[in-house]
Structure formats: structure tokens, C-alpha cells
């Protein structure tokens, strides 16, 4: 007789999907929470670098589109947080706890959202490269063994296709603009490239990422994702007449693999693990302002509706 863990893994290997209320090994649940919580919080934290540019967007259409894009990201955060909350309910943890975790450093978010976005071109390049990278990762997760995650990702990827077009449209406009616009674009690409090399994680995956492969929560390793990103974006960036800030970047003619300069792994790791990036503090302060600063309003809503139901009325 196989034990329940082996039987579970067998089923997953046959392509069976797992639902929220199904029995699952603790390890599987913990890995899912780790992955989906981090993914959701990253979507929420991703709103902060871009929102700085909404009020300064250079046309009405750009302002509307950037608003809508950031709104989608918050929406993705909301949908993913809901999944992580459902998984965490067995530990008695819900939205309040999961949102607190980021303020207290218990959940990480993507390296890119700890960095500065000092020009309008950064908003465009975030849409172009960061969303581009996120789409590659998310497309890989569409086949995740955890069905609620895979279902939600279908929706998320569909919305990301608008983000992709928007980011490219912003970048294309700058690339066909005047010298100042082109220079702004080049500087932004140079700023974001090393961060994108870190974005997919270390060349050799850590133990929990490997276990996520084992449980088919994810299906491709870090290096494979990074290679696909480079392969897709290098020709596009070069076609725009922009330079990639890596003089060693080249494609091995026999294997087709890209050779690239390693990002500063230690520095980026410290940024992510210790919330130690140039903008980590400022962005967390905004999150705290909303979550802690306005917790009174969430509690007021609860108070009002419980009063109402005590009095037998409808709101």
C-alpha cells in the first residue's frame, strides 16, 4: 500500500487537479500558500511604482490606460489573496493576517517593486519588461496542479495581454520620439535589465522551488524561464535601436542558449529578503498607510452591518 503522500503525487502526475477543499499534504498546502501569497502581494506592491506616474501621464488616453492597468494589478492581487486566504483558513488566517505579513516582513515581493521608477519611461518599461517577464511565468503556471490557481491565472493572463500591448505602445511611442524621449527610454531599459535577470530567480533553484516542481505547482525551472525571456526580448529591444547593458550577452550558436552576465545576486537577495531596496521603505509605508491607517474604515463597515443585522434591517 502506498502512503497518502505518494498516492497524492501519483494522481498529480496523471494530471489530476486539486481543489481548495480537497485533502492535501501539509507541505503542498504550505508551498501553495507561499507561492500564491507572494504572487498576490507582488501584484499589490506592483501598483506603487506605477501609480507615481498616473498623475503625470502625458495624455488623457495614457492616464486612463495606466489607471486601468494598475487597477488590474490590484484586481489580480485581490483574486490571488482570496485563494491564499482560502488555503490559510485551516490555520485561522485571513485577509488581515496576510496583508499584515508584508508589513511585518513575513512575505516577500518581487525584486523589481523595490526599485526606483524615476521617469515616465520607467512606467513604460515596467509594462514592457516586468509585465513581459510576469506573463512568461504566469503562462507556465496555467497548468498548475492546483486548479483554483490555474483557473484564476487564465483570467489574469487574459488581462495581462492588455498590459503587454499597453507597455509596448508606451515604449514604441518613446522610441519613435525625440532625443530626450529616446534617451529616457534607454536609461530605463538599462536600469531594469539587471533586475529582470534576477526576476526569475537563481540559476540553481532553491529547495522550495524544487518541491513546487515536484508537486507540479510550477512546471519549468528558473533558468528555462529566463532563457525564454531573453530570447523574446533581446531582439525587440535591439530592434528599437536600444542597447542592452550587458556586453557579454550572446547566444551560443550550437545550443541556442543565451549567455548573460549574472546580476548581483547577493544585493538583490538582500533587497528582497530584508526589504532593503532603494524604495522598499517608501512603498511599504504606502501599504501601511492604507492597511493600518484605514483599518478603522474596514472595522466601521463591519460594525455598521452587524448593528444593522442586529436591528433586523437591510443595508
Amino acid at each position: 500500500m502506498k502512503n497518502s503522500l505518494e498516492a497524492f503525487v501519483d494522481r498529480i502526475e496523471l494530471g489530476e487537479k486539486v481543489e481548495a477543499t480537497d485533502w492535501m499534504p501539509d507541505e503542498y498546502r504550505m508551498l501553495l500558500i507561499k507561492q500564491i501569497h507572494m504572487h498576490g502581494i507582488s501584484e499589490v506592491m506592483g501598483a506603487y511604482p506605477e501609480r507615481e506616474w498616473v498623475s503625470r501621464a502625458p495624455t488623457i488616453q495614457r492616464k486612463l490606460a495606466l489607471n486601468a492597468k494598475i487597477q488590474d494589478e490590484i484586481g489580480h492581487g485581490q483574486m490571488l489573496l482570496r485563494l491564499a486566504e482560502d488555503l490559510s483558513s485551516v490555520y485561522g488566517r485571513g485577509r488581515e493576517d496576510l496583508m499584515n505579513d508584508v508589513l511585518e516582513g513575513r512575505v516577500k515581493f518581487h525584486n523589481v517593486f523595490h526599485l526606483e521608477a524615476p521617469t515616465w519611461a520607467d512606467a513604460g518599461v515596467i509594462g514592457f519588461l516586468v509585465d513581459g517577464g510576469a506573463i512568461i511565468t504566469q503562462a507556465m503556471l496555467l497548468n498548475s496542479s492546483y486548479a483554483p490557481y490555474a483557473r484564476m491565472l487564465k483570467r489574469i493572463v487574459a488581462e495581462e495581454s492588455f498590459h503587454m500591448q499597453l507597455g509596448e505602445s508606451e515604449v514604441l511611442a518613446l522610441a519613435s520620439g525625440n532625443d530626450a524621449q529616446r534617451q529616457m527610454l534607454q536609461e530605463a531599459i538599462s536600469r531594469w535589465w539587471p533586475a529582470m535577470m534576477f526576476f526569475f530567480g537563481p540559476r540553481t533553484m532553491g529547495p522550495s522551488a524544487q518541491r513546487m516542481m515536484y508537486f507540479r505547482i510550477r512546471t519549468l525551472d528558473n533558468e528555462e524561464l529566463r532563457q525564454r525571456f531573453i530570447n523574446r526580448y533581446v531582439p525587440r529591444i535591439r530592434a528599437l535601436g536600444m542597447t542592452i547593458p550587458d556586453s557579454d550577452l550572446r547566444q551560443d550558436p550550437s545550443s541556442g542558449r543565451w549567455i548573460y552576465t549574472d546580476p548581483d545576486w547577493d544585493w538583490f537577495s538582500r533587497v528582497v529578503h530584508n526589504n532593503d531596496g532603494p524604495m522598499s521603505g517608501a512603498r511599504l509605508a504606502l501599504r501601511r498607510q492604507a492597511h493600518d491607517g484605514l483599518s478603522w474604515a474596514r472595522q466601521a463597515n463591519l460594525y455598521a452591518t452587524s448593528e444593522q443585522s442586529r436591528q433586523g434591517g437591510v443595508l
Partner: protein
């Protein structure tokens, strides 16, 4: 209004411009709440509302363009501060959630009254635009009413924030009801509802009823603004806002963005 007179066109423009500028400012200020409201679900609702307002402003600027004014982007990115005609409250920065909810609730009540009054002007492009706006605006009014109702009944702390916010916002409401057109214009259109005094009393009626239902203190009728109101938002924050808003575009004013 097949062949509007010059007086009517001038009056029409000043009404539409005031509304467009109000919507723009509310939308632009509203967007600063992105990712900063009490919860993720509310972020989504608020962001849609802000996008709606910006969209309505763009729609109204396009109506003005048809009446001979410059295009929407020019109106937003190149107009001097002295030529904006929003009500002071629309541009006033706010950092308090309670104040924002109170302000938006008041604005939505006012805007509802204004749209109904404007719909009496027999100018088909305006009527068509108002129709487009109505579906979205009725959601705004509903949502801010719900938020007000819950904050008002949300316990002593929440209640005290709302009370303070009402007192802070009340003196700022006056010039919402004014407009730049000549008083005779609404007589020509048989639209007496457009008279500032008529809009003000319609507003007072609704708000008084709501506040009493929520057991909030009604601070009394909104004060009457002087007739130069809406012509000049003299606040220091307007030029600051416009400069900030235009910072990127001015890198290449004629450029492609």
C-alpha cells in the same frame, strides 16, 4: 436648439466647461487613491469611478471642441490656471478617507441634480453625452451613499471622523452651484432647474434627508457663493497640480506619447 444664438452657445460652453473641469479634477484627484483605500475591493471600485470621471471629462471636452474650443488634451495640458472653471472642492487635495467619502457623496448628489437639469437643454450632443454618463454615475452615487451610510453607523471613531469631515467640507461646497453663463440662458431653454438657487435647494433637500436618516448632524443649507465663483480657483494647489500633471508632456509638447 437647431440654430443656437451666440448667447446660447456662450452659456452652453460655460456650463459644459464647468462640468468637464469638475469631472476632470475629481477623476484626477480620485486616482491618487489607487492602492490606498481601506481594502483591495474598494481600490477596484474607486479606480473605476476615477476612470469614469476622467472619461466623462474627455467626452465633455470633445463637445466643447465641436463648439470651437481646442481639443481635449490641449484643454487639459495647456490651459492656464486662470481658465479652469471647476468648483474649488473638486481640486482641493484630500488625505483623509472620511473627507474623501463625504466630499464625493456631496459631489455625486450635486452632479445627479446637475445632469438632470442639463438634460433639459435641447442640444442633442449634450443629451447624448449625459445619457452615456448616467449609467456610470448612478453607480457612483449608490456606492458613495453606501460608504457614507456605513461610516456614519460605523461606531464612535468612524462617526467622529465623518462629523469632522462634514464640517471641513461644508464651506467648500458653495461654488459647486454657480456657473459662468448669463442668468437669462435657462429662461431661453425653459430650464429653471439650472438656476444656482434651484440646484442649491434641491441639493439641500436630498442631503438633509440623508444625513438625518444616518443620524448625522446636518450643518444647515450650503452658503451662497459670490457670482465670481468658479471663475478663479485662486488656491496655491492649482498651479502646483497643473505643473505636476504636465511635467512629462512638456518634455516634448508637440511629441508623440
Amino acid at each position: 436648439m437647431k440654430h443656437p444664438t451666440t448667447i446660447q452657445i456662450t452659456a452652453l460652453k460655460s456650463l459644459i466647461l464647468a462640468m468637464a473641469d469638475d469631472e476632470w479634477m475629481m477623476g484626477d484627484r480620485g486616482a491618487t487613491w489607487l492602492a490606498l483605500t481601506p481594502d483591495l475591493e474598494e481600490d477596484l471600485a474607486m479606480s473605476s469611478i476615477s476612470q469614469d470621471e476622467i472619461g466623462h471629462a474627455a467626452l465633455l471636452y470633445t463637445l466643447l471642441e465641436e463648439l470651437g474650443e481646442p481639443g481635449a488634451d490641449t484643454m487639459v495640458y495647456e490651459r492656464g490656471p486662470e481658465n479652469w472653471h471647476h468648483a474649488v472642492i473638486a481640486q482641493h487635495p484630500t488625505h483623509s478617507w472620511a473627507e474623501w467619502v463625504v466630499r464625493r457623496y456631496c459631489y455625486e448628489v450635486f452632479d445627479d441634480i446637475r445632469r438632470k437639469a442639463l438634460a433639459r437643454i435641447p442640444y442633442p450632443p449634450l443629451i447624448a453625452s449625459l445619457k452615456k454618463m448616467d449609467a456610470e454615475e448612478s453607480y457612483h452615487l449608490l456606492h458613495f451613499r453606501s460608504l457614507m451610510s456605513m461610516l456614519a453607523r460605523g461606531g464612535p471613531l468612524s462617526r467622529s471622523y465623518v462629523d469632522t469631515a462634514i464640517l471641513a467640507d461644508w464651506p467648500l461646497l458653495a461654488d459647486l452651484f454657480e456657473w459662468g453663463g448669463r442668468d437669462e440662458a435657462w429662461v431661453l431653454w425653459d430650464a429653471g432647474q439650472l438656476a444656482p438657487s434651484a440646484m442649491r435647494s434641491a441639493f439641500d433637500l436630498v442631503v438633509q434627508r440623508d444625513l438625518i436618516a444616518w443620524e448625522l448632524e446636518w450643518p444647515g443649507p450650503v452658503r451662497v457663493a459670490d457670482r465670481a465663483a468658479r471663475h478663479h480657483d485662486n488656491s496655491k494647489t492649482l498651479p502646483e497640480l497643473l505643473q505636476h500633471m504636465r511635467e512629462v508632456r512638456h518634455i516634448a509638447l508637440a511629441g508623440n506619447w
